[in-house]
Assembly symmetry: C2
Homo-oligomer: 443 residues x 2
């Protein structure tokens, strides 16, 4: 079982925190002096002097006095001060790369990398690949196009640094990708969960038995699917491989680290992570759902400090069977704080909706419209049936409606559509759409 | 004016040759021992012992006793011994990347890189970028998709190593690329000559004045166009930028180095280059057209030794105004030995045909069918007219037919087609097609 930096990955929590606060202090000092965006924010919060900032970086409680920052703030700042915004050290070292967020929620946020931060981004993937024992005997296939999204460019560099044959599946059809995976005897597949399903579907349509391919490890991110038991089981069964969920955010860096026990850790040596109640902004306890709020250490020229990711998860701090003491997310990322629906006082995330659909079985693809009326929500669900499903459409339709009602007291309206009718995509996307603008507050 | 390795780039020819033969000897020794493909070839040529091989690596004359190798041989070998073929050192270090030739002439040849050879490939582009004084203040835009073709992946690494902002224009439409070039204030554009024309066309269609963009340097490869004066002038005029031709071959490495005087040098510190008559295989003199035959030093695990590139050029050995003593190709790559047409004893290459069409003016795009009958050839040319052309279709049609007849005694049949009727592509492609299988030998 491999480690990138065993010492810190298995250190007692106090030692991790000492490491984090040393890095935090140096980051905050620099940002309060040379970063106009954070300097302004700090001053507005009454932290005018360097001494104030040093004091802040002494403990988790004091650090929480700093304001959080959010995507919209950074977007507004980039719009007002193109192209970089003011979240740039001055003078800044030269930038060598530029990427942007996927923009599913509006204007994309641009991120720039220096040579140093690019190496750091690669390091984050080295943590991940080494944890899964990827070695030079492996062949990694990256099933995605190399475009604007930062996503997996760093996997490429990390794979090469490890000495693994690292194949870039850009500019190919899904069938060509399946062929390449089979013929090159790829052992590791990197993609999104929905694209892992899509590739399996294309293989089956072309009578290619991908269970017999050499792929034994699938690393996914970009969507919550991998942490949903039903989806995970489905992908693992179709591929005859183990699935690992390794989440990252363009604007933050690749924060996730899936361990051999399929736990999702956060790389606490490279990020300071707070888990906060999205409403009250207070820390949640172990096992409670909280929003991940991040400060990253490896992009000092354009850092995020107390950045609200909107991703919600349940932190656990026990030692993992893998030996890591890095915070673990029970069940991975369970949803977005933006996507949370409150149904009779219960927080419902899309991942829970997905879990119920998968649990009902016999569904190959689905989409959900969330319809809000007064304080109630109902779901309009479209499903495609498995080619080898056991019941008739009407049976499956009823089963899903009944299960939602039984489990969540939620009214659903399920429609069976022909196979292939729902959109598929290799890029990350949501199967959930909200309808009716005139709906109650979603928070 | 920058250099990557000024000492060798400006060394006297004798010093270059001493450097080359030292590297040749070490390559040949290793290949004759541990590379089954070349060991077999060397033995078949009567070079059975290590001593024989050492003797061979003493002078250009002796070295010519080694057999040449060709693409078909390597392809057959890969087909017989998949996936690598036998041209692999044994034991081989791990490969980290795999690419393939563009396959316009049949099955693609696969090439593998080790970490070391990948670094070498990046080095070749550092020679190029430094020669054109690219620095961290530059922004490089690569207008192509990051797919199977090796092409410009190395530009990315080299650009980043230099500290320049290096933008990967994958997964974008041509208009989005134009927008990105303008908005990111790219100073350097890397693409194929025909795609530089295409981007200019798209910009004009959308009323974007790319002459006013920050692009001052365009580096192209993959097609002969850049060394054709008419095409070069057209691209330079449309973009208000200088054009540099920097040829490379997937199976060999990036052999070309365009200098500020727009001369096309070969990187003789990293390749041993022979210029041979395609028929007789004897060295051609300065200024004479010969086929480029290459031995590369930086891929010792999968080298090419005396590899016939099929590219034809005229070597010149005088010192260039840029200070380099590396062999210069007068007029760049003038054609492929495969594409050579002998008309009344005169070797005609597609580049000459293109030059004549461009010289006639008023043509925005063209395609050529080469029709062979007995010992004679005629050309069927389709042209699209410039939006701002001065003469009528009939005038331009006649002008081209007359010019071909006057210059080459060649019969042509010119047809004017509507704007946009001819195919465009970002990938390298030929505007030339041969028709009628029952034609005389083309050699």
């Amino acid at each position: 079982m491999g480690f990138f930096a065993r010492g810190i990955e298995t250190a007692p929590r106090a030692a991790i925190e000492t490491h984090q606060f040393a890095r935090l202090r140096s980051l905050l000092e620099r940002s309060s002096l040379d970063n106009p965006f954070y300097r302004t924010k700090f001053r507005a919060a009454g932290l005018g002097s360097l001494q104030d900032v040093i004091e802040i970086a002494r403990s988790p409680d004091r650090f929480r006095q700093l304001p959080t920052s959010g995507k919209q703030e950074l977007l507004d700042d980039q719009a007002a001060h193109p192209p970089h915004g003011t979240n740039v050290l001055s003078p800044s070292p030269p930038f060598v790369r530029q990427h942007q967020t996927s923009g599913t929620t509006g204007t994309p946020l641009k991120v720039w990398e220096t040579r140093q931060s690019w190496e750091w981004m690669t390091t984050l993937w080295l943590y991940q690949l080494l944890a899964l024992d990827i070695t030079p005997v492996d062949t990694i296939f990256m099933a995605f196009n190399f475009g604007h999204s930062l996503g997996l460019w760093n996997v490429l560099d990390a794979g090469m640094q490890l000495g693994a044959l690292t194949l870039t599946g850009g500019g190919l059809t899904s069938l060509q990708r399946v062929d390449s995976i089979v013929h090159n005897r790829a052992t590791v597949l990197v993609c999104t969960p929905s694209y892992a399903l899509r590739l399996a579907e294309v293989a089956a349509d072309n009578r290619i038995d991908i269970r017999r391919s050499a792929v034994g490890t699938i690393i996914v991110g970009g969507e919550p699917g991998a942490s949903v038991a039903g989806t995970r089981d489905r992908i693992e069964r179709l591929w005859g491989a183990r699935l690992y969920d390794s989440p990252g955010l363009t604007e933050v860096g690749h924060i996730g680290l899936a361990c051999p026990h399929q736990g999702v850790h956060l790389v606490e040596s490279e990020f300071y992570v707070e888990m906060l109640d999205p409403e009250t902004q207070r820390p949640v306890g172990p096992g409670e759902a909280g929003e991940i709020v991040v400060t990253n250490f490896g992009r000092p020229a354009t850092p995020v400090i107390r950045y609200r990711t909107r991703d919600v998860a349940r932190p656990v701090y026990d030692m993992c069977p893998c030996g890591r003491t890095f915070m673990r997310l029970e069940g991975g990322i369970i949803g977005r704080s933006d996507d949370m629906i409150v149904v009779r006082g219960v927080n419902v995330f899309p991942s829970l909706v997905e879990a119920i659909i998968r649990e009902c079985g016999d569904v190959s693809e689905y989409s959900v419209e969330i319809v809000g009326t007064q304080d109630m929500y109902s779901l309009r669900i479209k499903i495609e049936l498995d080619a080898d499903c056991t019941g008739g459409p009407e049976t499956i339709r009823r089963r899903i409606e009944d299960t939602f009602h039984r489990r969540l007291y939620l009214k659903t309206d399920v429609e069976v559509v022909p196979a292939g009718a729902l959109p598929r995509s290799g890029a990350k996307r949501s199967r959930f759409v909200r309808v009716e603008a005139d709906k109650p507050s979603l928070k």
